[in-house]
């Protein structure tokens, strides 16, 4: 009797869930990045006075783009890296445990 929950590495279902989970993580991180990246020009366009306010000598928009931008991206990428490593480990665990169970079954 084949166990229904045993993930077969070569099955269509496994590939599907694999790609879906990875893509979901990537798209989540990409959206966070794109909101910041594409939002800044919009803020410049619609709120020019506000973005020109002075912060420590910089204009707000210069400060955000010239200094504050990279740290935000670092946060996103470090989140992605931690999550994707965890995701891979979970996937491996699933397959290995599934194999063990499958082996014990026979």
């Amino acid at each position: 009797m084949a166990m229904p929950e045993k993930p077969d590495m070569h099955s269509e279902k496994f590939l599907h869930s694999l790609m879906r989970r990875q893509l979901r993580l990537s798209i989540t991180c990409a959206s966070a990045f794109l909101v910041v990246l594409l939002g800044l020009p919009l803020a410049n366009y619609f709120f020019p006075e506000f973005m020109a306010a002075r912060v420590l000598g910089f204009t707000l928009t210069w400060f955000l783009l010239g200094i504050g931008f990279c740290p935000v991206v670092w946060l996103i990428s470090s989140y992605f890296i931690r999550r994707s490593i965890a995701l891979e480990e979970a996937e491996v665990r699933e397959v290995v445990e599934g194999d063990k169970r499958g082996a014990g079954d026979e």
């Binding site: 590495m9 020009p41 670092w74």
Partner: protein, 706 residues
């Protein structure tokens, strides 16, 4: 020549040390596989430094500062996106490609579609992107040498540096060894940051420097530092400091849109012009004036009539407005004029000229005859309203962002190094460190631009070429001369050393990857598949010299173009060709070779063609020798003036070329569904399943079992 000994010494030491390290390291790792494996023995930190060292080119080291100085805020998008592009690479491409085990993009193209043919197609873009990327490196070299040896022509610098690096690569140095590249990163980091800290300590910090740009606002508190006066050519503080400044609004500001027809006519009437309407005669180059009768014997009107017909062939009628005071002078032209059609228009312009008259063609139907000395009293065109300029500028900004972010993920020489880590986890940590190392580096170049605006505004007077703002990183430290003597020279020497490190490492890296493509793929696989190793080695050397030579020739032409701008174009081409290929191949299983090839070729070639066109029209504007060489493209600038949107889309093609490539890939793949590789599920598994599951091994065994 007045050569500063400090500057010369620091530069010479860098060049010699780089070449020596290259040969030293090359001796220690003889085989080609060492090149890739070398990284496995080094830590994440070293490998991250090496990737960063290879990535930071003349555009990063010199170009950003130059562009921030010349264009202000908008130029900041370049460093930010150069650094953040890695995130896209990390999110969508790096992991799967690493698992697939393809070392280069052509390798991947072949493996993913089981198609040696596609590999050959994909290899073309290594050369296209490579040449676009080498041009700004050559410009960096020309500017730096012209600075170290005052009076040396730009072209001489390009040839000298290009020849030295080409020879070095041909002889086997600079194989892209991890250690050398890592060293280059720290050299560049040191060379850009130390002068910035010293300059900020003496003249005031980053924020204080930027605060000085409030001069236009008298209500602001008096600036804490005294700037040098800005020359005429410098952009005004307000536009320089704000978004949607000179860089992104250039095309829209140059635009001339037609005045509505009715308004034009009422303006002409109000100014008292006398109007005559003529049927326009067709006139093409095959006709001669004999078809139309001798001009000399006809009435005064015929001169105008023929001219206009020649100029505006295609319209049914033409209205000619003659300025109120001139009606009697239109008659004077020499009798018995007999000229071939080809010269017709030119000769008529001459006739008008000698008689002190000028024809202003307002638009397709309206011509004004005025006195030559008078200003154009009536203009058929007007500039764009401020709101449209801002809207176009926003579009430009977005297209630029797309080009830079997607382009980073599609650069041919970046992906290789992700394999020099022992495992996927280390590769990811490396990427994280690369983003930090690069991000920190990019904080510094804009500071040069800002301080340069305050203290070296003379550079604005030579906006293009060797004397333009691209040299600010090299020259700025010398302002310390007046207070600290030799310190200025020493720091300037240090930035020169950094510049050498920047263009030498990137040019060498590009030369190696382009030569590899040419010698390995074109010669080794297409021309002579049965060549011996000796022949291949010779082919490698010939290819190096050939590509180095082409890069030098191209580099000689680009003096008037900004370094950073050109690198941005290389990114745009990569974004429209390799990025869609990688992205779609990794995530869409229904992709086929014809689909991938169609999308990549169409997107990439369209981007290549449109940015080249922009460059030609820019070069035609140059006041130096390049303007003469490219003068044939000057009419293009008139065309751009009437179609600012087209100009923006040509200058920054990513916003349409990337979706075009992706769309074509999806559509054509769908049409050629039957050509999806048969083992596609296995391929997708290898791309996405964790490396620990060992699917790669299984895949290789299956593949060899065929």
């Amino acid at each position: 020549m007045n050569i500063d000994p400090y500057i010369l010494a620091f530069s010479a030491i860098t060049v010699i040390a780089t070449i020596w390290m290259g040969f030293w390291a090359a001796r220690r790792s003889k085989t080609a596989s060492d090149f890739f494996v070398a990284g496995r023995s080094v830590s994440v930190g070293w490998n991250a430094s090496a990737i960063s060292g290879e990535y930071l080119s003349a555009a990063s080291f010199m170009g950003i500062a130059g562009m921030v100085m010349s264009s202000g805020y908008d130029a900041l998008w370049y460093p930010v996106c150069y650094a953040c592009g890695y995130l896209f690479l990390l999110l969508f491409i790096a992991g799967p490609l690493r698992r697939f085990g393809a070392y280069t993009i052509p390798d991947f193209a072949e493996g993913r579609y089981d198609s040696p043919l596609f590999r050959k197609i994909a290899v073309i873009f290594v050369l296209f992107i490579g040449f676009f990327y080498t041009m700004p490196q050559m410009k960096g070299a020309g500017v730096t040498l012209a600075y170290i040896f005052p009076g040396l022509p730009y072209q001489a610098g390009v040839v000298l540096v290009g020849a030295v690096i080409t020879l070095n690569v041909a002889l086997g140095g600079m194989k892209g060894i991890t250690l050398v590249q890592a060293f280059q990163y720290w050299l560049k980091m040191f060379a850009i940051s130390v002068p910035v800290f010293v300059l900020m300590a003496v003249y005031g910090d980053y924020g204080k420097q930027l605060n000085a740009t409030q001069s236009s606002n008298p209500a602001a508190e008096p600036a804490a530092l005294t700037r040098k006066p800005l020359p005429e050519k410098a952009p005004k503080d307000e536009t320089w400091l704000s978004p949607f400044g000179p860089l992104t609004t250039k095309a829209a500001k140059a635009a001339k849109i037609p005045v509505p027809r009715t308004e034009l006519i009422s303006r002409l009437d109000a100014a008292g012009y006398s109007k005559t309407v003529f049927p326009a005669l067709g006139f093409n180059s095959e006709d001669t004036q004999t078809n139309y009768g001798l001009l000399g014997s006809s009435s005064r009107v015929s001169v105008v009539n023929y001219f206009v017909a020649a100029r505006l062939a295609g319209n049914s009628e033409v209205a000619i407005y003659i300025a109120p005071d001139l009606t009697n002078r239109v008659v004077s032209y020499p009798p018995n004029l007999s000229i071939p059609a080809a010269d017709f228009q030119k000769t008529l312009v001459e006739i008008f000229k000698t008689n002190g008259l000028r024809l202003d063609v307002l638009n397709d139907e309206h011509v004004v005859v005025v006195d030559r000395s008078s200003q154009p009293a009536i203009s058929a065109t007007t500039s764009l309203p401020v709101q449209s300029v801002r809207r176009y500028s926003l579009l430009y900004t977005y297209s630029l962002i797309i080009a830079l972010v997607c382009g980073t993920a599609g650069l041919p020489h970046i992906l290789v190094r992700f394999y020099t880590n022992p495992d996927g986890v280390a590769a990811k940590r490396t990427t994280m460190w690369v983003m930090i190392l690069i991000g920190v580096f990019y904080l510094f170049p804009p500071v040069f631009g800002v301080i340069g605006r305050n203290f070296m505004p003379d550079l604005y007077n030579g906006l293009s070429g060797v004397k333009g703002t691209d040299g600010i990183v090299l020259k700025l430290p010398t302002i310390l001369h007046e207070r600290f003597g030799a310190l200025g020279s020493i720091l300037s020497g240090i930035t020169c050393a950094g510049a050498f490190a920047a263009f030498m490492s990137t040019f060498s890296g590009l030369l190696v990857s382009m030569t590899g493509a040419l010698a390995h793929d074109v010669y080794g696989r297409m021309l002579k598949p049965k060549s011996t190793p000796d022949q291949r080695l010779r082919a490698f050397k010939v290819a190096t010299v050939l590509i180095g030579g082409i890069a030098i020739v191209l580099g000689c032409f680009v003096e008037p173009l900004e370094i950073n701008f050109m690198v941005g174009q290389a990114f745009a081409i990569a974004a429209a060709s390799y990025f869609p290929l990688l992205f779609m191949s990794v995530w869409k299983r229904g992709m086929t070779m014809p689909g991938a090839a169609t999308g990549m070729l169409t997107g990439g070639l369209c981007a290549l063609f449109s940015v080249t066109l922009t460059n030609f029209s820019n070069l035609a504007l140059d006041k130096g020798p390049m303007g003469k060489i490219f003068s044939g493209f000057a009419p293009l600038n008139d065309y751009w003036a009437h179609h600012p949107l087209l100009r923006i889309l040509c200058e920054q093609p990513a916003i349409w070329a990337v979706p075009l490539a992706i769309g074509l890939m999806a559509i054509v793949s769908n049409l050629t569904r039957d050509r999806v590789p048969p083992d596609i599920r296995m391929k997708m598994l290898v791309l996405h399943a964790p490396e620990k599951l060992g699917l790669k091994q299984e895949y290789i065994q299956e593949h060899h079992g065929h």
